[in-house]
Structure formats: C-alpha cells, structure tokens
Symmetry: C2
Subunit: 329 residues, 2 copies
DNA sequence: CTGAAAGCGCTAACAT
DNA sequence: ATGTTAGCGCTTTCAG
C-alpha cells in the first residue's frame, strides 16, 4: 500500500502538498491539485488513519456501550446515534458489554488509549464509579440510563411520569389489582418506574401490595414468563400488569395464555419501550413509546459537542402511551 | 495523559526499556522492571494504541458487517465472534450497514486505512464485487451469506438441505399445498432455500405453483403479514407455509390469526433461524436452528488465521429442524 | 541488560 | 503557493 511519500514523489511535490490536497486546503493551485490527485489515483493510495490520528490525537471513533445487542430496545437509538455520528464525520463502535466488567474495561481502555474519542453509555449495569472517574478526563454521555448522583450529562425520558401514566390508564379502566413486573432496583429506571407506579396507586387510594411487585434481574422473555407465573400464584390474582419492559410483558403474555387466561379480559397488560415485536403479539401490546431515534441523535450530538469542549446540558425527552389491544376490553 | 517519555524519565530509564516492560520482554531485570512499573503506576500511564498501531501497522480491531442490528438472527453469531476475538486479543467493531453502499464504503475504508485488521461480512446485500476486490488485499471472511462465484472463505450451513427438510416435514404431515415466503432471490440463501423447497415438492410429486411462492425484499414482520395476505387471496389457499425467516413467519402468523384462521389446524407454519421470539408466539414456531454461536466463533477464528497469513478453508456447519406447535396438529 | 536513534504515516508551523 | 522539518507515541534494530 502506497504512502504519502510515494504519492509526493510520483506527483513531483512535497508531502506537505499532498497532505494539503487530502485535507482540502484552499491554498493549492488547481494544477498541482490535479497532479496530486492523478498520483493518488494511479497509486491507489488511501491515507492511513493511523498516521493522521496519531498526529491529530483524535480517532473520530465513538464508542457506544450497550448491555446486550439482543435487546431490541437499542435498535432505533443506535440508528439515531449512527446517523448523527456519520453526518459529523465520526464512526461508531458498538460495544456489547454483556454487563461484564471485564469487557467494559477493554472499552474504557480504548478511549484512554486514544483509539476512541468518547463514549455513549447505555448500559444500566455499567460501573458508575469507574464511569464517573473516566468522565473527568474523557467525553462521556449517558443515554436512557444515568447516574443521578453523578455529573455525566445524559439524555433520557421522565420514567416516573411515564410509569404513572401507564398505571393511571389501567386504573381508569377500572382495575384495582395492578401488579408490577420490575427489573432490578439498583437501576435508576427501575426505581423511577416503580415510583410512578406507586404514585398512581396512591393518587387513587389503592393499596401498594408487595405480593404484586415482582423483581427480575434479566429482561429476556423467559423472565417475564417466570414473573407472571409467580404473580398468578398469589392468593389474590391481579387483574392488570404493568411491566417495565416489552420483552418481559411478552413473556408474561405467553404465561397468561398458558394458564388459559385471556388478555385483556382476564388480565390487562402494559409494557414499556414499544419494540417492534410488541405489535406482533396477539393481542398487540399497550406500551410506552420512547423517542428512541431522537434519543440517539441527541446523545451523539451531545457527545460530539463535548469532544469539542463545548458545554452540554442533560436532556429529558417526551414519551407517549400507545394504547393497543392488551388494554382494550 | 502521560506518555512513554515521561514514564522513562520518571523511572530513570530509556523509552526502549519502558517499551520492553510494556511488552513483557524477558530481558529486563526485575529491578528495572519494578522501577518502570512504579513510574507507570504513579503517572497513571496508559500506552497509546495509536503509536503502537502505527508502528506495528496493526489495529487488532475486527470489523463485523451486519445489514441491520435489529435482526435478532445476528445476536448469537456476534456473541461467538466477540468471545473468540477477545480471547485472541482482538476487539470487534459492529458495523450496521443498513445495506447502504455508502456506509459500507466507510467501513471498507477503515480496513484500507489500517484502522481495522479484517472484516467478517454477514450482509447479504453487500457489494460482492467490491468485497472480492478488497479480499485480494485484506483479510475477509463471509459468514452465513457468501458469494458462490467468489474466492472469499465462508462459514455457513447447507441452506438447501435445511429447506428441503423443513418442507419434507410438512409433506410428511400430509400437506400438499405448501407455500413459500422467500426473500429476494438475488441473495444466495434465498435461491438455495427455494431449491430445497422445490426439491422436496418434486420428490413427492407435488406441483410447484408460482402462485404459492411469494418474494419480499425485506425481512421485517410487516412484510410477512403482507406476504400472507397475498397468499390467502389465492384461489386455492395453501394449507402450509414455509418462510425463509422467523420474522416473516411471525408476521404471517399474525395475518393468519387476523383472518380468524388457526395455526396449525388451518395452516401449518415453519420459519427459519430460531430467533428467541419464535418461542414466544402462540403457537410456538417450528423453525430451523442454525448453530449461530459456533458460526460466529468459526468465522472469527478463520479471520484471525487469515490475518496471520494462514490458509483457511470454508466451513459448512450442521443445522437442525426444531419442531414446535405451529406444525403439531 | 540497557540506551540511542530511526522510523511507522501524517499534519502544521515556519520558511521561502 | 509550495517545500522543509519537527514531532505525535511507540517499537525495534544496533551498539555497547
């Protein structure tokens, strides 16, 4: 592979001139530019990012940390990030951390090692302490999940309000026995959504019953099934279920059907995230829609600003309750 | 951020010695090693990959091209790739090409630009000509989808045999009117699966009817719905459907239900890929399971071998027909 | 066993 | 408008 030297030689100019052509400096004559471009063509030259990056100490690579690529929730967010990044001359590196600290470590090192210019973290299970430490030296943005005590800018929705609205919707439908399938409350979104759930119940003077609140560490379908199985075993079965993720809700739906019960007649069901599957179930799933694409764009914008040492403020975006068959008696 | 110079200075040694410590050269005295390690500790030094990579002209980064992160089919493959890569000291860069040639171009350039050491392509829509061109100079492996005319090593399954078995399963169940929901036949897997479908029909003297073969350009649920809608409009409705992807099959199931028909009583259904959602539908979906994790591991292994200039041979892995409720009358 | 120095490919002063 | 040159951070001969 040819390097800048050979191009310079072939074009009969200095490497500086080649570099100028490469970087579209206006001070190059049309004639020399042509000579250089011809040489580049003939040698099939491709500039090495390595040299450029070392010199400029930037990589124009953005790291995006997700806990698992299999969670469809992230799909649209990533599209937003990617589109925005590319528009701004950055590329993204999708990092599946598997919520594994060791992998996380590798990716953290990439930014320390100058292999990436910044990080967008969407991993709720990320080591917040480490992340906060890193953020003192390197550009970092959090998307969706964040650390309320930390200083890292984030983009998210009002989880409590969203949960409140979802549960209120169930109450308005006449439900009084509403269960919650929650994820691990060491995650902020889980705590916030639970707060919204409780807020709605309290507002309508409904008791908060521990037996109707189920926690699960994972978000895969099977854990939704398991959660529902437990809820159906309680002495007093709930007539409605609010689940903090669509994947869990879909598992719950499966389990409800397995018990020969119907949604929404016997049990109404609300999910969260509006993943594409949620419209394929039978019945279709009422859910909370987050502006995922926009979240992604915003997060990428914020990160790029941060990389350029501009100040950025955290952003809270709007959500929407999407009412579908699973709550339409 | 400290560099190797400062470490050398602090430790009272030369940069060469620091480098030796960094790279675990055996020729360093325990004493000097300690001095250097202390200095590294104190300065919080992290070696820059940029300098190292430039010098070694390798990045230890692997590119993985997928058409869309939203397709759950790729999830397990990527886990396999990632685990294998990390074990061998490589990291992976997930590239969502969106089947967009422009994005593809960006990622191709990354390997030309020395920002990545090689590519695993899983994008059926990739520009095969370009990919073959690249492969003459850079390490490239194809996973799942490949170019039969090209020379790039690949790992895949026997798509024709898998389809043949799926359709034979339907025939054995007594079905004679079997429809095919196929994807675009400019993709090899689509052509092969269709060949398997036809092979099974021919073997049992069943006519191949064009009206029961539907092609769709996309794999999202809605296209499965649309396909099924068309198939239900034919003068003679099929009693079984083989779909080349689970996502399409799930869309078809949705549409069948919308017409007040039942699976499998009215129409039996077979998908392909065994995505996790295929076990959440009602009824659960009979499907073809590919050894996805293993495919990923194999592809990564092959690529790393290729990077080290070793010869690699294409691999065809086993598949399995997973019989579930959608074909259990 | 360790140090000096060259050089990977590129960009940006500075000089002309 | 173009050339010369230093240097980004690292590894690796080559000497000693």
């Amino acid at each position: 592979m040819a390097n800048i030297q050979e191009v310079a030689q072939k074009a009969g100019v200095s490497v500086a001139t080649v570099s100028r052509v490469l970087n579209q400096h206006p001070t190059v004559t049309a004639k020399t530019r042509l000579k250089v471009e011809t040489a580049i063509e003939e040698l099939n030259y491709e500039p090495s990012m390595l040299g450029r990056n070392l010199r400029n100490s930037e990589s124009r690579l953005l790291l995006v940390l997700i806990p698992s690529i299999s969670n469809p929730f992230y799909t649209e967010i990533i599209n937003g990030i990617e589109d925005t990044a590319i528009t701004n001359g950055y590329n993204i590196l999708l990092c599946d951390t598997d919520s594994n600290p060791q992998r996380e470590h590798i990716y953290f090192n990439m930014v320390k090692n100058k292999l990436a210019d910044g990080i967008i973290s969407m991993d709720p299970a990320v080591d917040m302490e480490k992340l906060n430490g890193l953020a003192m030296q390197y550009p970092i943005i959090q998307c969706s999940e964040y650390d309320e005590k930390g200083t890292i800018p984030y983009v998210t929705i009002d989880n409590q309000l969203a949960a409140y609205r979802a549960v209120k919707h169930l109450i308005k439908l006449g439900h009084k026995k509403i269960a919650l399938i929650n994820s691990d409350e060491r995650f902020l979104y889980a705590r916030e959504r639970r707060a919204g759930y409780e807020q709605a119940l309290r507002e309508f003077n409904l008791p908060i019953q521990e037996k109707w609140i189920y926690h699960t560490n994972h978000l895969e379908f099977e854990f939704g099934q398991q959660a529902m199985r437990k809820l159906l075993q309680t002495d007093e079965k709930p007539t409605a279920v609010f689940s903090v993720s669509d994947t869990l809700a879909i598992g719950a739906l499966k389990e409800i059907n397995a018990h020969e019960l119907n949604v929404p007649e016997d049990i109404a069901l609300v999910g969260f995230d509006k993943i594409s599957f949620s419209n394929m179930t039978n019945p279709t799933l009422t859910t909370v829609s987050q502006p995922m694409y926009k979240m992604g764009c915003t997060a990428a914008d914020m990160l790029i600003k941060k990389i350029h040492n501009k100040d950025v403020e955290s952003v809270i975006l709007d959500h929407e309750l999407v009412i579908r068959e699973s709550t339409m008696g």
